[in-house]
Symmetry: C2
Subunit: 378 residues, 2 copies
């Protein structure tokens, strides 16, 4: 009836359409859709920026524009089609109306408003459904959306650049540039795909970074998040350049907050018992505010806090081919007395970028829990 290798080929194309909108769909997932009739592609599309049509509707429109009928065709979608009225009508309705013979999806949507109902509606309309084709690739592409839907908090990767012996700066503070231009551009790619770039007041006071995307081209700048427990941020910090920014503090200062509010910057006071920003509460806050993916890039102190409180799901590490000996550590962590006290990661991707190495590593259990959430019962 249908060839599994065809399914892989067309789903790969759907995934690459989704990759093409990696920087632009937030807070929606990046989805790609391909419609195939008798082995021939008759329509394709990807999620438009928020409020615009989803991938399935784009692909159906594409088929229509080509004068093709979708009746009896196979539709490949990288995520279970939505079955609810959100900012747009349910994609399932559009699909059922087009009457394909079969819908192939990469993964289910754990969004409580979808969560199998999309597929059930398709099946109820007599459409055959296949699920789980290239599931891991699909999950990697929308790891943050799935995290938010499943557990209510964003997926956070912690970006760090260091020498092979883990030094992110010389003792005198010099850190520009430990890694080369290819690694730095790749870092901007990860900023660009994130919903928000998070840093700390220590980094702002030391380096006054812009924390925006420059080295890659993007139509959307990610939101900025500044962690500033004592609310010390200078009003002329380069970070506060007018882009949408959230500041989390542990100290109220209504006057300063009002000045910032005039510039569209939202200040939220979320103190923990120690007078620091409550990072766990912040992650939940971010989830409620539709942040899927957080790109964290900070100094050793905040890195340590994010790691210690379990906020970090993934390490995004750039290793320069040198040893520096003395200097800043990647992350300030509590002293361990046994090796099994350390959080372990799983390497997911290692590659050379220019002269440097990029190492990605995840907390295995987090990935597995999300993977389970997108599996669809056969």
């Amino acid at each position: 009836m249908h060839d599994p290798s065809d399914d892989l080929m067309w789903m790969r194309r759907a995934l690459s359409l989704a990759e093409g909108v990696l920087y632009t769909t937030t807070p929606n997932p990046r989805v790609g859709c391909v419609i195939v009739q008798g082995g021939r592609l008759i329509g394709e599309g990807a999620t438009q920026p928020v409020g615009g049509p989803h991938a399935e509707v784009m692909a159906l429109r594409d088929a229509q524009a080509r004068g093709e009928s979708v009746a009896g065709a196979t539709v490949y979608v990288t995520l279970e089609p939505c079955s609810h009225y959100g900012r747009t009508p349910p994609c399932v309705d559009a699909l059922v109306a087009a009457a394909p013979a079969r819908v192939v999806i990469a993964m289910g949507d754990p969004n409580p408003q979808v969560n199998g109902q999309g597929l059930a509606r398709l099946r109820a309309a007599g459409i055959a459904v296949t699920a789980g084709v290239l599931l891991d690739d699909a999950l990697a592409l929308n790891i943050g959306f799935i995290a938010r839907m499943h557990r209510g908090t964003p997926w956070m990767w912690l970006k760090m650049a260091s020498s092979l012996d883990g030094r992110s700066a010389l003792p005198n503070g010099v850190s520009q540039w430990i890694t080369g231009p290819d690694a730095r551009a790749d870092g901007h790619h990860w900023r660009a795909r994130s919903c928000a770039v998070l840093t700390g007041i220590g980094t702002v006071l030391a380096d006054d970074p812009q924390m925006n995307v420059r080295a890659v081209s993007t139509p959307r700048q990610p939101r900025k998040i500044l962690l500033d427990s004592r609310f010390e941020v200078p009003l002329d910090a380069r970070l506060l350049d007018g882009a949408p920014t959230w500041i989390f503090t542990a100290r109220e200062d209504a006057a300063k907050a009002a000045v910032l509010a005039d510039r569209g910057i939202v200040v939220t006071c979320l103190p923990d018992a120690a007078g620091k920003v409550d990072l766990t509460a912040m992650m939940q806050w971010l989830g409620r505010h539709e942040i899927n993916e957080v790109h964290a890039e900070a100094g050793e102190k905040l890195n340590g806090s994010l790691l210690r409180t379990g906020c970090v799901d993934e390490l995004l590490l750039y290793l320069a081919p040198m040893l520096l000996g003395e200097g800043a550590a990647m992350a300030k962590l509590p002293v361990l007395t046994q090796l099994d006290q350390a959080q372990r990661y799983r390497y997911t991707d290692v590659r050379q970028l220019g002269d440097d190495l990029r190492v990605r590593a995840q907390v295995e259990a987090r990935w597995q829990s999300l993977r389970k959430a997108v599996e669809v019962a056969a």
Copy 2:
């Protein structure tokens, strides 16, 4: 006349024969030889342990044992055949007597007693010669022998195991085991191929290691080298288990040296101006004593000294997927004030071993200088 892709195929086979004797030929290079007649393999061989026949003679004997004539055949050798009387007669004589039509080599032998004379003798006998086939692979396989022949000192790799943030032990000294069994076994593979495993008195006093090869099977244990400036080694150190061992000190102690000499352990006093072992002099000493490859595995102090004095040609680094924060550094190095003061390396191979990452990185200029030394003028 001859197909370059055939040359690659047969040379690959010759290289894999050489790899098969990786642990056993020292101080001779590992060489493989394949003899091909009309597209058919008629003989092959690899270097035997020191004093035994070289690869070419083994392959010629193999052809004879199969009743094959080498006249008019093509001979593939991973290193220029020797042209001098060493522990065995010149391989060139045996080749000329067998009268192949053509000899293909991977690289020249910079040994002053060979250095192009092997090829010249073949050409003078009317044998066609092709050089440079899979040169980089051949060089990697005998990097230490070539280093010793070309510059008079061994090739040293520095083996280190650490967390992703460069910690090789917890603050309380716990380091067993940061990396897993696959990485540790791979470390023993590198010990096994080395001529000598070098460590320092700090490691002996802290961990009392055996410094031998256990996790892989080898018919030959590498020599042990202990750096012990103040000659503090306890006579019951596990390192001194009877295997051939050299101790370098900066302090004379004739009585202690005599006790050790009775156990076959040679003590050499090589002080520098600061009262430490003169590492540069030691490298030359090792070169004179036919040490091709040194596997260094020590603590942060000696690692730093070896790096600082330029003894280290290559890093062999095992990175465990965790962050430890506080703990021992990989190497104690002088404080830098600018990033360009750091020695840079070139990544040559990165792979996952079990849960860990193995990173190899070389001093690029050192590799290039040896590469030039084995290139043969066309």
